[in-house]
Amino acid sequence: MNATFALWAGSLALISALLVVTRASVVHALIWLLVTLLSLSASFFALGASFAGAAQILIYAGAILAVFVFVVMTVDASPKALEQERARLGRAWVPPALVAALVLVPLFAWRGAPGADTAAPMGAAVSATDLGMLLFGPWAAVVEIASGLLLAALMGARHLGRRGKPEGRG
């Protein structure tokens, strides 16, 4: 596990992420998304963040992608819809590409500038125990607040999923 491997996995993630947003068929996009998530996880492992890498596989590649599969079942995948999607993709890539360039250009331009830190910050490996000690020790308050976040999302989702007629403005 070294920096070269992390860089390789990271570039793989970048390329497959580009393929995700340029595919017209939603199923193809999902498969490339899986590749993106797995290569991100590989780069986490290479950098020594084994817990984050495992969480990436379990939560994103596992749970979240499964939810996406359910969404795919509700999407219209007929050839006509595909054609429409292709036509839309023809122009849609311009603004996101501009934003990405806006972020990437300074990053590359400043790489060789004097004083810039060109060495990758290779920290020590973080074990799951250390992370657990942090989350249930000094960071316990933040974990509790994050549980409030899930509670709010849950109540909103439940309310939107409720059957019956919509009510008036209140």
Binding site: V103, P106, L107, W110, A113, A116, D117, P121, G123, P138, W139, A141, V142, E144, I145, A146, G148, L149, L151, A152, A153, M155, G156, R158, H159, L160, P166, E167, G168, R169, G170
Partner: protein
């Protein structure tokens, strides 16, 4: 200086869980009473507790205390104007969660608390927005969800850049002059501008004010703004003076003041006008922050504290009038419903910044801060913006006094009347004698 412990946040969270757990069985009144009790307890604890937060994640300083108190007040106002007929039972719990998020934000000293607090406010606000499940409410919620998501992603990217360059997650990371950190600061500013509804990241604000329940608009207009403003105040001294921060804030502020006021000019609907004017008021705050004046923090906190009661009163009136809250429906309100009409008049005068209303002192502070800093360009923008504001606030005020009135649907409930009376007392009381508020704000600097 007295500090605040974790108790107010714990009380808010606990009350939210209790209000949620009892909401399916208990009556609407019981749920609301428990939520209101939680808010009042948190308010008292924020004002009086002597605990000390030792964590690097949250600070309990005087500014956090001030922000938590103001957020609790806005939560109480939102709770009072939530209409029982259309509000689902979990709404009080959502208001408490949004208040908790804004309070966390006002004590945030670390990237983790900043992000979690911001997202808690946004998610609870989205859930509050879609409560009526009407087409405008769903549209507003959808816009907030997508744009809020973009804002959160931008913010995270900025935090990641700063962390990559410095290996530091506390706000002290931003004092580095590394170019990666400067790029991160630009992204962080853009992310915070989404939540602060600064142009060009403002698209969701008018929809929240006109489509969502008025309670959601109070949370978006006061609680979330207080939190973000205190975060901006805490970040301000860390940012290097030559960086993009000041320039970016000035550009965003000018754009917000100009565009917010211009779009409010021709707006016939009261809540939509308040939404655009809320963008303009965010712009004034950004101008103060960009000027780098010596008393920036005083002016910002004072401005928000005076903006809050006027917005409570105006939105309570909008909630009472419901669909009729527009230029034709408001004709003769002062004669038909003296309480609602008179308080709405006061609120509009305070928002316009006329003397004897507390808004005048806020505008005075704004202009004097900009003049002291010697930023005459920003001062000119603020004065022109306020002049435009005078036109559209007075346009609504004059309508209220017309004799050819229309029929009004219903008088205010007692909770709504209480909000109106408390807001009116604050606007006039502090407008005539602003000393106590000055003292409070001066004691609450971060």
């Amino acid at each position: 200086m007295a500090t605040m412990g974790l108790e107010p946040l714990a009380v808010l969270g606990l009350a939210a869980v209790i209000a949620m757990a009892i909401s399916p069985r208990a009556s609407d009144g019981t749920t609301r009473s428990i939520a209101a009790l939680g808010l009042i307890a948190a308010l008292i604890l924020a004002a009086g507790s002597q605990g000390a937060l030792t964590s690097a994640l949250l600070t309990g300083d005087a500014a956090a205390r001030f922000g938590t108190g103001l957020c609790c007040l806005s939560g109480l106002a939102a709770l009072a104007i939530l209409r029982p007929a259309s509000a689902p039972r979990e709404a009080p719990a959502l208001i408490l969660l949004a208040t908790l998020g804004a309070s966390v934000l006002s004590g945030a000293a670390h990237a983790a608390t900043l992000f979690v607090g911001l997202e808690l406010v946004t998610l609870a606000l989205i859930a509050l927005t879609v409560l009526p499940r009407s087409a405008p409410a769903l549209e507003a919620g959808y816009k907030l969800l997508i744009l809020g998501g973009i804002g959160a992603a931008t913010l995270l990217m900025g935090l990641a850049f700063a962390f990559a360059a410095t290996g530091e997650l506390t706000f002290a990371a931003w004092s580095s002059t590394d170019r990666l950190v400067a790029l991160g600061a630009a992204l962080l500013l853009a992310g915070l501008a989404f939540k602060f509804s600064l142009v060009p990241f403002h698209m969701w604000t008018p929809d929240i004010f006109s489509g969502a329940p008025a309670a959601a608009a109070i949370v978006a207009g006061v609680a979330s703004k207080v939190g973000v403003a205190i975060v901006l105040l805490r970040l301000q001294p860390q940012m290097p003076a030559t960086g993009i921060w000041q320039t970016g804030l000035a550009a965003l502020g000018i754009a917000s003041v100009v565009l917010g006021n211009l779009q409010a000019l021709r707006q016939p609907s009261l809540p939509r006008m308040l939404g655009f004017s809320s963008i303009a008021h965010s712009g004034y705050l950004a101008l103060i922050l960009a000027s780098g004046a010596a008393d920036t923090a005083q002016a910002v906190l004072f401005y928000i504290a005076t903006y809050a009661p006027a917005l409570f009163a105006a939105l309570a009136a909008a909630a009472i009038l419901d669909r009729d809250a527009n230029l034709t429906g408001l004709r003769g309100l002062v004669w038909a419903q003296p309480l609602t009409g008179a308080v709405l008049t006061l609120a509009l005068l305070s928002l316009a910044g006329l003397p004897l209303a507390v808004g005048f002192w806020a505008k005075f502070q704004l202009f004097s801060a900009l003049a002291q800093a010697g930023t005459y360009g920003l001062l000119a923008v603020a004065i022109l913006g306020s002049a435009a504001g005078l036109y559209f606030y007075l346009r609504f005020t004059v309508t209220l006094f017309r004799r050819d009135g229309v029929d009004f649907p219903r008088p205010p409930h007692w909770q709504e009347a209480a909000v109106l009376l408390a807001a009116a007392a604050t606007i006039v009381g502090l407008g005539v004698y602003p000393g106590p508020l000055y003292a409070l704000v001066t004691a609450s600097l971060p």
